[in-house]
């Protein structure tokens, strides 16, 4: 069992968990992920490693409540335990001195971008950070990102904080202004990563994205996570999750991401009903 040592509610449906898992923390690197199960009946869900503390033996993950499992996870408190927690999985980010790099984080994607930006900066890169969110309330880790970047741009879709617009608006300006950029790292929702890649393709700027395909084992055993990269099938859990964004078949990804949508919705409404049945009869139905 793995203890939640810290919980921070970053926004109404956005949580940060710091979880005790010394064996994972010992080896964790930027770009890798973990798979967890909340309880015995739980699904295995992947979350990216947003930070790690080797001394304390903990892993930090930031997750958005989007369905049954992430809601159930969000309902846990400090001191609670997770049934299973395995990692670090996937390949670490490729970090070297590219000179000048841009790191783009959209929404919850800011969390996984952070350790990559930090590693790139530590390797001597000049790191330009761009972070975006739909609205002010959903922004988090501005300070942390600031410390991992030489320069940080913040933007919101609705203009409720700093500039109004999309991360691609800033990215275009940055590319136009500072010519010699060696690498772009972009993590966030699929449409955002796709838009970034469309943009950087115009400029021939190599772009790395992190793919969130549906996974089961995370060790290369099931093939559920397969993605098409430059016409070749790869397993995101072992060959990735980071890939050359210009080679990714985003259309295929988007369609595979919703394979279980009707079933996921069924699971979610069942869960919400159970939660709303906040126990007057003493059956414990609301507690999980």
């Amino acid at each position: 069992m793995y203890r939640v040592v810290k919980k921070e509610v970053l926004a109404p449906t956005l949580n940060l968990f710091e979880i005790e898992a010394p064996l994972v923390a010992r080896k964790a690197m930027a770009g890798q992920f973990i798979i967890l199960r909340v309880d015995e009946e739980g699904e295995r869900i992947p979350l990216t490693i947003a930070d790690y503390d080797r001394g304390k033996g903990t892993i930090t993950c930031v997750f958005q409540e989007v369905g049954k499992t992430t809601k159930e996870l969000g309902a846990l408190s400090e001191g609670d335990y997770l049934q299973d927690f395995v990692g670090p999985l996937g390949m670490p980010s490729h970090v070297e001195n590219f000179g000048r790099v841009v790191c783009v984080g959209g929404g919850v994607g800011v969390a996984p971008v952070f350790p990559i930006a930090r590693a790139l900066k530590e390797t001597g890169n000049e790191v330009i950070g761009i972070m975006g969110a739909r609205t002010k309330d959903l922004l988090f880790w501005e300070e942390k990102m600031g410390s991992a970047c030489n320069e940080l741009h913040v933007i919101t879709d609705d203009g409720s904080y700093m500039r109004k617009g999309f991360v691609t608006d800033v990215l275009r300006e940055v590319i136009e202004e500072k010519k010699d950029i060696g690498l772009c790292v972009a993590i966030g929702p699929l449409p955002m990563m796709r838009a970034v890649c469309d943009l950087t393709r115009e400029y021939g700027l190599k772009t790395v994205v992190s793919l969130n395909s549906i996974m089961v084992d995370g060790t290369g055993m099931c093939g559920c996570c397969r993605v098409s990269i430059g016409g070749e099938t790869k397993f995101a859990c072992v060959d990735g999750p980071e890939f050359d964004g210009h080679q990714v078949d985003f259309a295929e990804m988007a369609r595979r991401a919703v394979i279980y949508k009707p079933l996921e919705q069924q699971a979610l409404s069942r869960f919400v009903e159970k939660q709303e049945h906040s126990c007057v009869c003493g059956c414990g139905g609301g507690e999980k």
Partner: protein, 472 residues
């Protein structure tokens, strides 16, 4: 074992029948298909055995169980004695009694089989193991601690057997398993209706009673590499039994469409993650109306039978050779047929057809005929030009084989592998190119059987014991 000459007895020509669930009913539930012999039936079956002096059956058994001896004890209703005898050689009899391909092993060589049906050795074995599970497991003897530590990577049948043997010899054994439960294919691959998971876990708890520690959620090559465990991890030797978990695909167009599963994914969702109990269990699975399973082995049979149980209206085995060449166990093929699985022989898909939403709607296939025998001695399937036809299906399960998972080989220094990625290990000893590191099971042989994996685990345990003694 000397046996008095008995007066010539008449022998029932057929095996005592195995009671099983009605095919129509069972095709829609996940309960075990076969119910096991009653005490009367098992004794009657044991009495069919001729107690041959040369025991040809034994030669067919990869771990050389003393078959006539344990059967003689069953005939005398000494079930405790029989299970003890079995366990001298076989660490997982409840599993083997259910899933071993006896017809190509012990039962193939049974003297009785020349004229009649052979003795139902597997069914007798299963009875003994179930009897023990029901009546309390006898404690096994463990040698005093040697102070040596061995790491076992992977908790499939090879790793579990190796761990049990080493623990009995007094070594401290830690098993590292990537998934959240131990058992390997026995847990994630072979379905509940053929091998109940509580049977597997009971066998594994026997192992824990021997003092073996099993660490789940531990992917070797990720949380630590082999070299770290050996140098600094405090392990004196290691066994690698990571299996053949890497699914092969056909490499035909449309294979990434929604509704195409590898058999591993289809079975893992169902068995390990209990998707058949969705939404009580969280993991979903989607089985369509008409399912095509590509392949003809045990894995394919399991997937096709699982599809029916998940509610598919039709479940097809699509195989490019003919019925005679099906590599699956006969019993599994019979069971599949009884349950209503349909077979398209001499057929192989050329592409998967999907709609605008990327969901499978059909599969284009080519008809085959059998030509000259190939290297395996089976007649080679040859496509018939112009024989393309379209099969209307909405789910495709690819069950054409698995390769070794590259995680450990890729992260281990000086570990020799062949060009297919299998770890190279000496068949006599299990030794790899790396001193102190042994390997066995599917990761060495490619996808094979439970009993061969167990045999390899046992061989390696003997060598590791010798290696550790030499190390003193």
């Amino acid at each position: 074992m000397t046996q008095e000459k008995k007066p010539k007895k008449t022998i029932a020509p057929k095996k005592n029948p195995m009671p099983s669930q009605d095919p129509v009913q069972r095709a829609r539930n996940f309960d075990e298909v076969t119910l096991g012999y009653s005490e009367e039936a098992v004794v009657a079956e044991a009495k069919r055995c001729l107690q041959c002096k040369n025991a040809p059956c034994r030669r067919g058994c990869p771990v050389e169980v003393d078959i006539p001896a344990f059967i003689a004890l069953v005939a005398k209703r000494d079930f405790a004695g029989a299970i003890k005898k079995l366990k001298e050689k076989n660490a997982l009899p409840a599993v083997c009694g259910r899933v071993c391909p006896q017809e190509s092993q012990c039962e193939k060589y049974c003297t009785l089989g020349k004229k009649h049906e052979p003795v139902a050795i597997g069914r007798i074995e299963r009875f003994c193991a179930d009897w023990e599970l029901a009546n309390g497991v006898l404690p096994q003897e463990v040698e005093p601690p040697t102070g040596k530590k061995v790491a076992v990577v992977g908790s499939g049948p090879s790793g579990l057997t190796c761990a049990a043997d080493l623990a009995k010899l007094g070594h401290k054994v830690n098993v590292f398993e990537a998934l959240h439960v131990p058992g390997g294919v026995l847990m994630y691959g072979i379905p509940e209706f053929r091998l109940p998971k509580k049977v597997v876990q009971a066998e594994i708890s026997n192992l824990k009673n021997l003092g073996v520690d099993i660490e789940v959620n531990a992917v070797v090559g990720k949380f630590a590499v082999v070299d770290e465990l050996l140098n600094g991890g405090g392990y004196d030797a290691m066994f690698i039994g990571t299996g053949a978990g890497l699914p092969y695909f056909m490499n035909i167009p449309g294979e990434n469409a929604c509704g195409v599963y590898s058999a591993n994914e289809f079975l893992t969702r169902t068995n390990l993650m209990k998707a058949y109990r969705f939404p009580e269990a969280d993991t979903p699975i989607r089985v369509g109306r008409k399912v095509a399973v590509l392949g003809g082995g045990n894995v394919a049979m399991d997937a096709a039978r699982t599809a029916l149980r998940l509610g598919a209206e039709e479940s097809w085995i699509v195989y490019r050779r003919s019925k005679n060449e099906l590599p699956a166990r006969h019993e599994e093929v019979d069971h599949a047929e009884e349950e209503g699985v349909k077979f398209a022989f001499l057929t192989s898909p050329t592409r998967i057809i999907y709609n605008d939403d990327y969901w499978v709607t059909a599969m284009e296939c080519l008809q085959y005929e059998l030509g000259e025998p190939d290297d395996s001695g089976r007649r080679r399937p040859v496509p018939i030009p112009g024989s393309e036809f379209v099969m209307d299906v909405d789910t495709v399960v690819v069950a054409i084989g698995q390769g070794p998972n590259p995680l450990v080989p890729r992260t281990t220094k000086n570990l020799a592998c062949n060009k297919r990625g299998n770890i190279v290990a000496d068949t006599e000893t299990g030794a790899t190119s790396k001193p102190g590191v042994y390997a066995g099971g599917d990761v060495v042989t490619g996808a094979a059987t439970v009993i061969l994996a167990m045999g390899a685990g046992r061989t390696a345990a003997k060598s590791i014991h010798a290696y550790l003694n030499g190390k003193n």
